[in-house]
């Protein structure tokens, strides 16, 4: 008689939002893995139709409280692409700077409060804080340093309002940025400490042959600009995205699974950026990665926590360089006039590439919108990981196995509020 077990975790803690994951085990083998998302997505895409093109950045920023800058950046780049405008010089630098702030903020939250407790055997950051008070404080301060960058440039921390198509409503003076530099000097040291701290964690032996996809720019570690490339030969302009990527309906989930049309699942986010752009990281960040035992390639998703720390360090260094070189622009924004066109934007959100496509008319009215957040792109890879990961731990008691699976899912820092709002992660075992 065959024996069937289903592992289910009704509520996946410590991912952004809520999720459901089913793992079914039959005769000692994994029989099924399903990442379930219940809520109809696409609310925002429908909501955008009929709105003015200048409203897209602020409307889409509401999709996520953790990465509003990513939404604003993808939206403004798509709109500027549609209108044939290119923003350069100090305004471009300020966009990189605000993105640095968001990476620092988002990664620090994930490293310290969401992911580290898994590695150290704590149920949550609350439990960890009792034994690691100074460390948790450092994490909170590091996150705050990122908040301060976002809030100074964005006008406020949550749902920043100062970003617009063509630039900013108000550009800071050099003097405005100086207090940030002081703070970021501290943050850079704290980030280095973070890399050292997480590098000592115990990592499961789990390497996979992934297809990593990220932006790639000839001179920079990517934020707002570049071609979409992969380690398996993909090399396309952002406007070719829809030719190469497809969103598939899966019967058990309301969220669409994003796949590469030719090869299927792919992996976006810090691991992908790192593997495809190691040589563009600041020298200090490269050095810290090597000292942490990482080479230019890393295929163990559990080590993404080290890579996030390396990216925080890079973002601090990059932000300091931007502030150092900054001269306030004469105008805080360039003129962007609408025209009938389709615009494409893809930027590197903390969790990976975030694709926006808009069709607008000559008045600037949005006729059609498409948004593909990083988490929906990683869904299939998350499922694939569990197919491979669960068999190694089948002998564990149900609670522990569920925990291991949750940790494996948290490697992707899934932002369910971006993919949709509710995702209950379920792992069930009879």
């Amino acid at each position: 008689m065959s024996k069937t077990r289903t592992i289910k975790v009704d509520y996946l803690a410590r991912v952004e939002g809520e999720g459901a994951m089913w793992v079914k085990i039959k005769d000692g083998e994994v029989a099924d893995v399903k990442l379930k998302i219940f809520e109809p997505p696409r609310f925002f895409e429908a909501f955008l139709r009929g709105r003015n093109f200048t409203e897209a950045p602020d409307i889409t920023a509401r999709i996520c409280g953790i990465c509003p800058i990513a939404y604003q950046m993808s939206a403004i780049h798509a709109m500027e692409d549609a209108c044939g405008v290119r923003v350069d010089g100090p305004l471009r630098a300020l966009r990189r700077l605000i993105y640095c702030g968001e990476w620092i903020e988002s990664h620090s939250l994930h490293i310290y409060l969401l992911h580290a407790p898994d590695f150290l055997g704590y149920e949550s950051a609350i439990h960890m804080a009792k034994d690691f008070r100074d460390v948790v404080q450092r994490g909170l301060q590091l996150k705050k340093a990122g908040n301060e960058v976002v809030s100074l440039l964005g006008g406020r921390e949550i749902h920043p309002i100062n970003v617009r198509t063509g630039g900013f409503y108000r550009a800071p003076t050099k003097a405005d940025l100086m207090p940030l530099a002081e703070r970021l000097n501290w943050a850079r040291d704290a980030a280095l400490e973070t890399v050292r701290w997480v590098a000592q964690f115990p990592f499961p032996d789990f390497e996979q042959d992934y297809e990593f996809a990220a932006l790639s720019h000839p001179k920079e570690y990517p934020f707002n600009e570049g071609r979409i490339v992969s380690n398996k030969g993909l090399d396309i302009a952002v406007r070719e995205y829809d030719e190469h990527f497809a969103e598939e309906q899966v019967p058990y989930s309301n969220a669409l699974h994003s796949v590469l049309k030719i090869r299927g699942a792919y992996f976006v986010g810090p691991m992908a950026r790192y593997n495809l752009n190691f040589d563009k990281l600041a020298p200090l960040a490269q050095e810290a990665a090597r000292a942490a035992g990482l080479g230019p390639e890393c295929n163990n998703p559990f080590k993404s926590i080290i890579i996030r720390a390396v990216e925080v360090l890079h973002a601090c260094e990059e932000a300091l360089q931007i502030i150092d070189a900054y001269e306030a622009p004469e105008q805080s924004a360039v003129d962007v006039r609408p025209r009938t066109a389709i615009g494409y934007g893809c930027t590197e959100a903390p969790r990976g590439i975030l694709y926006h496509r808009y069709r607008i008319d000559e008045q600037g009215v949005i006729l059609d919108a498409k948004i593909v957040p990083p988490t929906s792109q990683n869904q299939k890879t998350i499922e694939n990981d569990l197919w491979k990961f669960v068999p190694k731990y089948l002998n564990l008691p149900v609670d522990q196995l569920a925990w291991q699976c949750e940790q494996a899912i948290r490697n992707y820092d899934p932002c369910i509020s971006c993919a949709t709002h509710f995702l209950k992660l379920k792992i069930e075992r009879d």
């Binding site: 509520y11 939002g17 439990h127 804080a129 949550i158 709002h421």
Partner: protein, 160 residues
Amino acid sequence: MTAHRQALVIGLGNDYRGDDAIGRLVARRLKAMAGDDVRVLEENGEGAALIEAWKGADFVILIDAIHSGGAAGTIHRFDAEAQPIPTSFFHYSTHAFSVAEAVELARALNQLPTRLVIYGIEGKTFDSGVGLSPEVEAAADEVLRSLKEELCTNSRSSTI
């Protein structure tokens, strides 16, 4: 001599998630009528940002939507000093590191305000969309009245 203890009221939630907007809405209404001794903020409910927001404040009131299975519009009041905050109530925040977890993390780090009161309003719908359900809208007025009383008492009790 009069030493008013300044109160900080923080409304939490997401305006685009139905009843999840209630905390922010109450905060906005309060702000329109509050005096100088009350500071009013709005936040999305992300825990770490909350701990920063109340830093240095003596008396803090949080207002948020909750989902514990009770009747829509039911108002719960928690005193953080007296009890741990039940995490199950606040799952409907957009962020897993949510209000209850922020309070408990702050407790572990000795960073709780001297007094922290949380109003949780039972929501009915958290679907995408703008607007409150009638039960929650009705509760908004009641929470506003309780808040005013609470702030008034605070103001009187801190008069030395």
